[in-house]
């Protein structure tokens, strides 16, 4: 419990889909000075009014335990799971990346997109919008490569994650 090493944690939180629940979670992080690397939220069970929040955070083991305990304390929170330590899991992020260029740069952008399995979802004479999914690192690498090739805009979803194997959260 006393380690001062900082680790990353991907935390999945099932909450009631009700007004204010996101403010509660975000307020908890800002009010207590915890880090948010990314946060995603969407309803996942319409009938049961449940939303799933995925938060990527970092801190010492003691802080991450605190974060989980603080989340569990919120009344509309059903389950909190630290995917990073609770067995194998898959993490994915999606990005839309706009590149405006012509000539060699345009060709090079397409070539790299192909290597990264990014799809062009919009194209004009002077631009592409690529859709790419994968790990945070893969997306960042792609964006970095696009920078000299005319990168003008990026929109990223933040991480969504799920455990491997048959069990639900």
């Amino acid at each position: 419990m006393t380690s001062n090493d900082i680790r990353k944690a991907t935390i999945a939180v099932m909450v009631d889909n009700e007004p204010g629940v996101l403010a509660r979670v975000v307020g908890l992080f800002s009010g207590r000075g915890y880090n948010i690397d990314s946060l995603t939220v969407s309803e996942v069970d319409e009938a049961a009014h449940l939303s799933r929040i995925t938060i990527v955070t970092r801190g010492t083991e003691m802080i991450i335990e605190q974060i989980k305990a603080q989340l569990r304390r919120l009344v509309p929170v059903h389950r909190v799971s630290d995917l990073t330590v609770e067995g194998a899991h898959v993490e994915r992020e999606l990005a839309l990346v706009k590149v405006a260029s012509s000539g060699d740069k345009r060709v090079e952008a397409l070539r790299i997109a192909d290597i990264f399995r990014a799809r062009a979802v919009d194209s004009t004479i002077g631009s592409f919008v690529f859709e790419i999914t994968g790990s945070v690192e893969k997306l960042s690498a792609f964006v970095d490569l696009m920078r000299p090739l005319g990168l003008v805009d990026v929109s990223r979803t933040g991480v969504v994650a799920i455990s491997r194997g048959p069990d639900a959260l």
Binding site: M1, R24, G27, M62, Q66, R72, R73, P76
Partner: protein, 589 residues
Amino acid sequence: MAQDRMTGSEILIKALSDQGVDVVFGYPGGAVLPIYDALFQQNHLRHILVRQEGGAVHAAEGYARSTGKVGVVLVTSGPGATNCVTGLTDALMDSVPVVCLTGQVPTHLIGNDAFQEADTLGITRPCTKHNYLVRHVDDLAHVVHEAFHVAKSGRPGPVVVDLPKDVVTAPGSYTPPARARHRSYNPRVKGDLSRIEEAVDLLAAAKRPLIYAGGGVINAGPAASQLLTNLVDTTGFPTTLTLMGLGALRGSHKNFIGMVGMHGSLEANMCMHDCDVMLCVGARFDDRVTGRVDAFSPDSTKIHIDIDASSINKNIPIHVPIVGDCAYVLEDLTKVWKSRQARPDGKALAEWWDRIERWRARKSFGYKPSADVIKPQHALDLLNARLRERDDVYITTEVGQHQMWAAQFIGFEKPNRWMTSGGLGTMGYGLPAAMGVQVAHPDALVIDVAGEASVLMNIQEMSTIAQYRLPVKVFILNNRWMGMVRQWQEFFFGGRYAESYMDSLPDFVKLAESFGAVGLRANGPDELDSVIDDMIAAPKAVIADIRIDPDENVYPMIPAGAAHNQITMSPDDEVKLDAAHKDEGMVLV
């Protein structure tokens, strides 16, 4: 069906009655007029009209903490709600169950900057355990029942229910309280048995054990205090209490070694520092208790019983965490102790007590008596002597030196008899809290031990006290200073007393009289006995202005940022802080 014809306001009142509410502290305004109209037409619920909404929340806190029930507040939208923020934060910090009903503008105007609109939900989100906006009249009863459940179960706390005006006027149907399990909120009360067994093994093997208990024992109800007392009796272990825990073990118990922390006893703090096994029961390792965290109880194995997992391992690493209600856990722990026929290490314990007795013999709460000027400790000693004769005493305090002296010099033989603002340290808490206690216990002796600066923060409540003929006693230890601030300026800011002198104070005797109360004054030690007697004997409210030594400081003191064994015992003691920790301590509060 007749019930279908109820208005939102009637539903609200029925829900409150079904929750066993008998009194509401409140203040009317536009958005809650329909509720007040419904209150007017019934006679189950008593309404106490405060003079400022902040007073209502503290009154509800006093009511709650002295009864174990939920305190209820009713205020209007906008300024009515924002005036409650301090009280709600106070209740959150000290785990006090309060339900605060706030009026709101009609739903179709929310977000339009309507007259007396405030984002009550947004403003109170960080200072409540939970809050609700009721959007449909048919949800109203259910939400109110849930609010009470959340306020009083698990770790208690304040809950706000925001009530738009159209919702409380709309017709709707009532739903009675249900026993159904909550969808997501189900605090755990039973502790993990294997952890409890581990705790018993550690305690039985301890050579220098310490029980450190806090407000959680009070929260868990009188049965928990009894179980704690039994455990102390069975083991013979020394036991300290936090400011919030006073009364959880009776003050006169031979194993009680005094309050711990910044202004706690030498023996309690030395035990904290030197113990080898610490059993923390419903306390939260607050920085007023731990002092310097990296020097906190360096050699002990720590067991922590708490209903809130987030209290465990927050400030101090814990070896044996036990999540559960301390009444349930203490019961199981005692059972395991007995079934294993565990025995404390008698020889080691005797040696430990020898050391404790030597610390005790230094009488860390001692003071130099004076024949000319009233020493606050002496005034409280005399008061305490009179209080020991009776069993119906409730003490509240404001915040400052007087609060610490009250904690040190008044003995609490039972839980729920001591109401103080610990976590937030809210000046102005004591008078309205005393009012709430007196409403709950009309025949009891309720005393607010006050400082002259703090008491002015909610002095308007003297008017409420007059209206309801509440015989609250205000015992002001009047040093003409914001004493606690003055003490820090003396110790840490070179005696530069910036803005801490209380100029232009009212004549408290005349002030009392203007509110129809009795005003008394003691200028010197020879007047103390009669003033205390007259105060206790008076059948109505009293303000007793006790003119104390303006220069007296609270001892012992562990300066912020210091370790327990760097305790300062008296004015003759240097503040023991090396330069590095002094700088560190300076930024602490």
